[in-house]
Every structure is written in C-alpha cells, then in structure tokens.
C-alpha cells in the first residue's frame, strides 16, 4: 500500500510527452496541401474538420450547424512559418495527427518539391500512413474546397477513393522511402479536377477524380502515366485485383467487346543474370470472371472462351510491356526492380553502382509472360 502510494507520488517528477488538449480546443487538420505561388513562396492550405462533419449526428440543438470543414490557407517562405501564420488566425490549436492526405500542387511538382515536405517527416505528430497525391487541373485549394459526393468530407472522400484500390494508392512512408533512395523512383498519384458530371451540391463546378500518376526524379516530374498505365503498375505492384480487362469478342475483332473482371491476380518478378547483366522475368497470373459480353458467342465452348482469354492475355501483355518500356525510357524504376537485384546479386549490384541504376535499367531485358484463366462466366453461361 505504502509502495503503491509512493509510486503515485513519483509521477509528477517523471518526464514524458504529455500535455492536455481538449477536443473543443482542437482544429483537426485532415488534409494538407502545398503549392507554389511564385519562386520561393509557398501556399499551404489546411482542411480543418468542422463539427458538421460528423454525419448524421445532431451535434448541437438549434443554431446554425457549422460547415463540414473549413479551408484555410496562407502563403510564406517556409511551411512552419505559414502554419504559424494560420494558427494565429484560428481560434483553436492546429492538430496535425490526423492528416490523412497531403496534396501537392501541380506547379510545385513541376518546379521541384525541394524540401517543402521536410516538415512532414520531421514533425512528430505526423503519421506517415496518410496518402500523398498531386492535383492536376486546378489549385490545391479548389480541390480541398470541392464538396464531395456521398461523404461529408472531401479528404475522407479522397482517401476512400484511394483505399478502394481502383486507382493508385501511395502512402507517405512509401513515397518518402522511395525518395530516400537513388534507384527507386517516387511516384505520385494524380487527382484530376474535372467538370462536375455528377449530381453534387448546387453550383459546384468541379469534381475530383483519381487519374494517373506522375514519376518524379530529383523531386521534379519527369513523366506522366495515364490511368491505364497506372493499372499495369498496380498489377506489377501486386494490386492487380479489382481491375477490368476489355477485349473484342467477335470472331474477328470488331466493335463488340467482352469485359473480364479480375478475381485474383498474382505477379512474380524474378531477376536473373545474363552474362553478368541483370535481366527480369515478369510472370503474371490471374483468374477472370466475365462481367459483360456484347456479342452472342457460345462461351461454354472451349475454343471460344479460350480465344477470348488469349486475347485478354495478349492485351495485358502488351500493356505491361508498353509500360515497362516507357519506364525504361524514362530511366524510372518505381517498382523496385533494382531492389531485387540488390537483394539477390549484391556483387553485381555493387559493380553496377546503385547511382547508375537508371542507366542500367534502361538496357535491362524484361521478359513478360501472362497466364490468365477463366474461372466463371458469372451467373449466366452463354449469352442469350
């Protein structure tokens, strides 16, 4: 008993990182955007969750409900300076622990990120599980101000879209760890601001759409990838599921198409040595389900579905080969091919020199093989 009390009394003498922050005094930042205004002047935009963001909850009885989020921005030469400037305007303390999304402006990415992101890595409250993306077709502020569909928060909506794995998902830690090496190329998913096609809030002109991706070298954009190419990248990253492959379905390729849903996707990247130089074999496997068929061919016949699957294989093969060629042309290796060589053939790797991996990668032969199987035709067998 006495020991227990003594233990409690020693409490205040200990050091630790604790300080009380009441929830009502907290401005919870859920998205953070950085863009370049002019040379050396950055604009930092914060999306702060307002009390209206709690969907469904009544919140306060009576009175005007607060907006779901508040977008504040400031300009300055350094991130910390801007943050402080914004904090002076907000009645609450900024809490960055829940920053789900970091949005980089197009101009900043084109001009070079430089050390603008240093703050994110250095601040202890930042969590690196958040997503990072680049906005195209508008300013960062526009994106964060866009009212989302079906979610109360734009950032939540964006991270939901990212998590849905339709597009490319890039976590902060992944981005930064790629950026820290000389041989892995950092990638940024791209969010396009498009003219609003859906029934959204009145008078809203823009909607956000997860599009392609950009490849960076030395913090500068070197290459754009479109949505199709991103799908290939995803497949090579091991996230090939949930995609759709569409190939012509007629006996002779024509207007009508058949679409396959990918139920299961596997990939295997094996480095080999060919005369002291690395080479890669990429084999993709997958199981398909027919989601839609526009022509009336008997799917149950072996030859027919075999033909269609071959076409799908060919389609995928071409896509992968094209993307790898594009990456090699850009000397970009966002898929850690180099890492494999480093792990399996350290001697070769040392000899090649990791700083010159880009040049080596450009010449490295990559063999692609695709093996797809039709698992099911859906609920129906032959089209009616």
């Amino acid at each position: 008993m006495r020991r227990a009390i003594a233990l409690l009394l020693l409490l205040p003498l200990l050091t630790g990182c604790w300080s009380r922050r009441e929830l009502n005094d907290t401005a919870l930042v859920i998205a953070l955007g950085i863009d370049l205004v002019e040379e050396g002047v950055y604009e930092v935009t914060l999306a702060v969750a307002g009390s209206g963001a709690a969907g469904g909850g009544k919140g306060q009885q009576g009175g005007e409900s607060l907006p779901s989020r508040i977008v504040v921005s400031g300009q300055g030469r350094s991130f910390a300076g801007v943050l402080r400037d914004i904090e002076l305007r907000l009645p609450r303390r900024i809490n960055l622990t829940h920053t789900l999304i970091v949005v980089v402006g197009e101009r900043l990415a084109e001009q070079g990120l430089g050390n603008t992101l240093d703050f994110i890595l250095r601040a202890p409250e930042f969590r690196l599980q958040g997503n990072i993306m680049m906005v195209r077709g508008g300013s960062v502020r526009t994106l964060l101000e866009t009212e989302p569909i079906m979610e109360s928060l734009q950032t939540k909506a964006l991270s939901e879209i990212a998590h849905a794995r339709v597009g490319l998902e890039m976590r902060l830690w992944e981005f930064f760890s790629a950026r820290a090496t000389t041989y892995r190329t950092p990638m940024l998913p791209v969010v396009d601001l498009i003219q609003n096609p859906d029934t959204g809030p009145e008078g809203q002109r823009y909607a956000a759409k997860l599009g392609g991706a950009v490849l960076l070298r030395n913090d500068r954009v070197i290459e754009y990838l479109d949505a199709r190419e991103v799908r290939a990248i995803k497949w090579l990253r091991g996230h090939g599921r949930e995609g759709v492959l569409t190939v012509p379905c007629g006996e002779e390729p024509g207007q009508e198409d058949v679409s396959f849903h990918i139920l299961q996707a596997g990939r295997r990247i094996r480095p080999t040595l060919q005369g002291g130089r690395p080479a890669f074999t990429v084999s993709l496997t997958g199981r398909l389900r027919v989601t839609e068929i526009q022509c009336t061919r008997p799917l149950m016949q072996h030859e027919v579905h075999e033909q269609l699957v071959r076409r799908a294989e060919e389609e995928l093969h071409n896509l992968i080969v094209r993307v790898i060629e594009k990456l090699q042309a850009a000397e970009a290796d966002p898929l850690s091919f180099g890492e494999q060589v480093r792990a399996l053939y350290p001697a070769v790797w040392r000899q090649l020199g990791e700083r010159r991996w880009g040049e080596t990668w450009r010449e490295t032969p990559v063999t692609v093989s695709v093996d797809l199987r039709l698992q099911t035709t859906g609920l129906m067998s032959n089209p009616l």
Binding site: M1, R3, A4, I5, L7, L8, L11, L14, G16, W18, S19, R20, R21, E22, L23, N24, T26, L28, I30, A49, S51, G52, A53, A54, G57, G59, Q60, Q61, L66, N95, T97, H98, L100, E125, R127, L153, K156
Partner: protein, 554 residues
C-alpha cells in the same frame, strides 16, 4: 417486590462469597424501593458465578431481578408428580416457539401427575425429569449466568424445588423468514435458496448439500452484549488444520460488544486491514459456501446475517458466479472471459476515454475523432471534469436506488437517469458520448458477480480517472502499476490474492478465465492449502457410445 428483595438477600447469603455479602447488604438497604442501576449492574456482573439455588423461590427472584422484570419474560408455576413438587418454567415470549413450550408444559403438568418423583435425591430427580420431558435435548445447568444465556437464546428453563440445577430445553424459534432467492446473487440455473438471518437454518442449508460426517460445525459466541452465535464450518480432511486454527485464533481474538453482521468480523480477521479489495468472499448462497468448503475453505456464519463469509478468498474467486458451474462449460467459459473484459471496461472505461480524448487524439480513428469533436462542441467542461461529474451522478443514482423505499426507488432511478442523461445532453452540459461511456461503465460494473468487488472497482475508477485527466495514459499505466503492486502484496489467510494467476499454478488455470468441463477438473485448486487434492476419477469423460467399433469394421 418486597418479597423478592428478601429472597434475593436470602439467596446471596446462601451463596456465601465475600462479594455476595456486600451485595446482600446493599439490597437490604434498598428496603422497599427498587434496586438502583448500579446495584443491578453489580448483580449482573456476578451472574457467571452464581450457582442455582435448591430453593425455587430464590431462583425465581434472581432470574426476575437479573432480567430486570422484563415484559417479555414468561413464567409459569407448576406442581410436578404425585407429590406436587413446585417448579417454575421460564421462557422469553416469541423467542421460543410456543408450540414446543406447550408440549413440554403438557407432559409436565398433565402426564406427570401420577408419577412419583424422588424429591429427596437430586440426581435421580434430574434423571426422572429428563425422562418426562419431550424435548430433543435436556441439559442441566448449575450456574445462573448460563441459565440466562440459554433463556436469552430462546430456550426454556425449568427450575424445580430442591434441585440445585436448572433444566434447559432448546425451544428457540425466534422470528425468522423462509430461505428466499438470494437478492444480490440471482442465477438462471442453479438452486434458488439463500441464507436467512437464522444461523441454525443456514447450517441446515449447508448440511443438506453436504451429508458428510466430516463436515465440522463449531459454535462460538461473539459480542460481549449481543452474544451472537457464530458458526465455523469446514470439511475435515480437506481444510488444513493450520487454516482452521488460524481462523479460530483470529475470530477468538475479537473483543467487541456486539456483532450485528458478518461485516464486523470480516474487517477484524482480514490480512490487510487497509485494502479496498474484499479479502474474504461474502455470499448469500449456500451452494457457493458448500463449493468453497470443498475447495478447503473455512466458512463463517453469523446469526442475524444472511451472508456467509468464506476464507481464504482470491480475486479470481470474487469474479466467479455460482452459475458458472451449472451451465455448460463452453458457455460458462465465454461468460467468464466476458466478465473479465467488462471488469476492465468498468475499471478503465472513463479513464481511457478521458486520456484518449484529451491527451492522445492520434490514437482515435479519424472518423471517430471527428464525431467526438462534434459531440463535444460547446461542452463547457474539460473531459475529466465531465467524466467525474457524470460518474459521481451515476454513483449517486445507484446509491439512491438502493436507499430509496422500494415503492419509489425504481421510479426515481428511471426519472433520474432520464432527466440527467437526456437533459444534460440537451442543455449541452455533457457530451452524448460521455453519457454512453458512463452508461457502459455502469452496466459493466454490474457484471461483476460479487457486490463487494464491484464496489472496490467503482471507487478505484475515480482514482484512475483523475490520473488519466492529469497525466493521460501515462497516469493510467502508473496507476495500474501501483494497483498491481498492491494486488500482488495482498494475502488472504496466507493465500496470494492473485493466485492462481500470480503465482501461476498449472492445473488451476482451467478454472480462471475459462471453466473447464467437470470431467477435466479432477483436482481441487492447488493454490489452496488443502490436505487432499484429488476430487474426481479419471474416467468421467464421456465418450461416444460406438466410437471404437465404427473405425474397426470394414
């Protein structure tokens, strides 16, 4: 009155002790008036040494005087046998069962009319009377002190002219109630009888479950004034003699004027008098006591309390319900693990909420945090204060619910809960989430089967809440550390309070967080200092009837 005084003087003179002469002189001085309080107390102080007089009148006068002419003292004069030997029967109204007294009277006054009694030889007279009296037991007592004690316990006392001892017949049947369903420990499956205030009934309830001649029942009397009957129960051959002796010593050490409940004794025999945790298991259920006896524990029953005390007890025992052993074992195991989970919630719920929302917001999933922020919007108090206020209100409601008359109790607690819960949120004084946390905590604290344990958890919760409000998780962890240090230092009659978890004993784990099937519990708890461990055979596990054959045939 006057006559009585003379008789008292006469008696005291006959008694012939130095102190008696003094008293006699004083009684004589009173001449006519009633005896002073001091004198009555002085007489009472000597009662243990006063012999029963052969003169009937003196005995009657002494009993009346010592009882202070109490209104409920019943006296009946009768003449026994053919020789019409004068006798007097005493009993206390309602303390003794009237029907029994009537039977005794009947046989003495009516059936013994013609019998010749050897009035001149006290020994044979005693034997002859014993033969006449229809009572399960007749006991001759030679000291007035003992006579009074029996009388006060509800026994009937018979004085006979010329007999220097009184006959005591147990007729005690003070008002009591029938064994009822235990109010604080109800079960769905299992026996529905609980202890009553009558200790003899309680012993019977246990005896009925344990028809073993090795069940030892020892009677003690505690309380200098209350003379409360305390019964010590144990199973010889299972409970160690050392434990039984230790209980006897600790209980025997008690010097108190009255014992009005088992709680009096509990606090005076505990190993650590300063702890908040119940070191003895208090139960209303005879089946729990019986099961405890079978584990080698010693039970203490106190007259006037429908609660038995089982010792030694452990934290694990406090978390067990009798029902665990009656339901099927997978269900019991599930319920038991659930109970430990909710013990944690009852204990840590509000503290974790406070710590997480005011110190460690990064631990909350974003969507939940946004909801929490919205819920707390406009609440004027810090979370700690809010939690403390609500928890205190909850405790007040609970206490009021117990204290209020049954008729209004429920209504008030419902109205209180609704008004405070709903209106406090409406008025924006408290966030709705806090109400949920408080409600969950309250429900969790009722899952703890033994009330004493749940009280301890409730009180400690406040300490943790303050720690959480000032130091966050850090405070909670330090508080828990202090708690574990304290818990591991506790002993109950030498048994570590956390056993069998700490120190761990292998075989006992099957009755801690899970309840192993009965066929697998072949031994008594090993952490208990029991003499004899095996309790069941090897072959209790049933098997499917034809399992062996089916595999063999082609």
């Amino acid at each position: 009155m006057q006559v009585d005084h003379q008789l008292i003087v006469q008696y005291l003179r006959r008694w012939q002790v130095a102190r008696a002469d003094e008293l006699a002189a004083e009684v004589e001085n009173c001449a006519g008036a009633g005896l002073s309080d001091q004198l009555q107390l002085a007489l009472a102080a000597e009662k243990a040494y006063m012999p029963v007089s052969p003169a009937l009148a003196e005995n009657r006068a002494m009993v009346r005087t010592l009882m202070g002419y109490s209104a409920d003292l019943m006296e009946r004069t009768l003449y026994l046998g053919a020789d019409r030997l004068p006798a007097a029967l005493f009993c206390l109204d309602a303390m003794s069962e009237r029907a029994q007294v009537m039977t005794i009277l009947e046989s003495l006054a009516v059936w013994g009319q013609d019998r010749k009694l050897p009035a001149d030889r006290p020994d044979s007279l005693l034997t002859a009377l014993e033969q006449m009296i229809p009572s399960v037991m007749v006991r001759g007592v030679g000291v007035l002190g003992e006579v009074l004690e029996s009388l006060l316990a509800g026994d009937t006392v018979l004085f006979v002219e010329g007999l220097p001892s009184a006959l005591i017949m147990p007729t005690d049947g003070p008002p009591g109630r029938q064994p009822d369903e235990p109010l604080t420990e109800p079960v769905v499956r299992g026996p529905k009888d609980g202890f009553t205030e009558t200790v003899s009934d309680n012993v019977a309830l246990i005896r009925r479950r344990m028809r073993d001649d090795r069940l030892r029942v020892e009677r003690l009397t505690l309380g200098e004034r209350s003379r409360t009957r305390v019964v010590l129960l144990y199973l010889m051959g299972i409970a160690t003699p050392e434990l039984v002796q230790e209980v006897r010593t600790r209980v025997g050490r008690i010097q108190i004027d009255a014992v009005l409940g088992s709680g009096y004794i509990e606090e005076m025999v505990e190993d650590d008098p300063l702890t908040i945790f119940p070191l003895l298991k208090v139960t209303e259920r005879p089946d729990v006591v019986t099961a405890g006896l079978l584990e080698g524990k010693v039970a203490l029953l106190v007259d006037g309390t429908p609660h038995a005390v089982l010792m030694p007890s452990t934290l694990v025992a406090e978390m067990q319900s009798a029902e665990d052993y009656y339901h099927r074992w997978p269900i019991s195991s599930f319920v038991r693990s659930l109970r430990y989970l909710y013990l944690l919630i009852a204990f840590l719920g509000p503290s974790i909420y406070v710590a997480v929302t005011t110190f460690h917001q990064e631990l909350i999933p974003t969507n939940l945090l946004i909801t929490l922020i919205a819920a707390r919007e406009g609440v004027p108090f810090p979370a700690v204060l809010e939690a403390l206020m609500m928890e205190l209100t909850m405790e007040a409601l609970r206490e009021a619910g117990v204290r209020l008359p049954k008729v209004v109790g429920q209504a008030v607690s419902i109205v209180g809960a609704l008004v405070i819960g709903e209106s406090a949120v409406q008025a924006g004084l408290v966030s709705p989430v806090m109400v949920i946390v408080v409600a969950l905590t309250a429900i969790s604290s009722f899952i703890i089967p033994l009330y004493a344990m749940s009280l301890a958890v409730r009180v400690l919760r406040f300490v943790l809440m303050i720690l959480a409000g000032t130091f966050g998780f850090f405070g909670i962890v330090v508080g828990l550390m202090a708690l574990f240090v304290h818990l591991s230092s506790l002993r109950s009659f030498g048994v570590p309070y956390l056993s069998p978890i700490v120190p761990p004993t292998g075989g006992d784990q099957r009755d801690v967080f899970v309840r192993a099937p009965w066929w697998a519990m072949r031994r008594r708890p090993q952490f208990m200092p029991a003499v004899d461990h095996p309790r069941g055979g090897q072959g209790n596990r049933p098997s499917r009837p034809s399992a062996g054959k089916r595999g063999g045939t082609p």
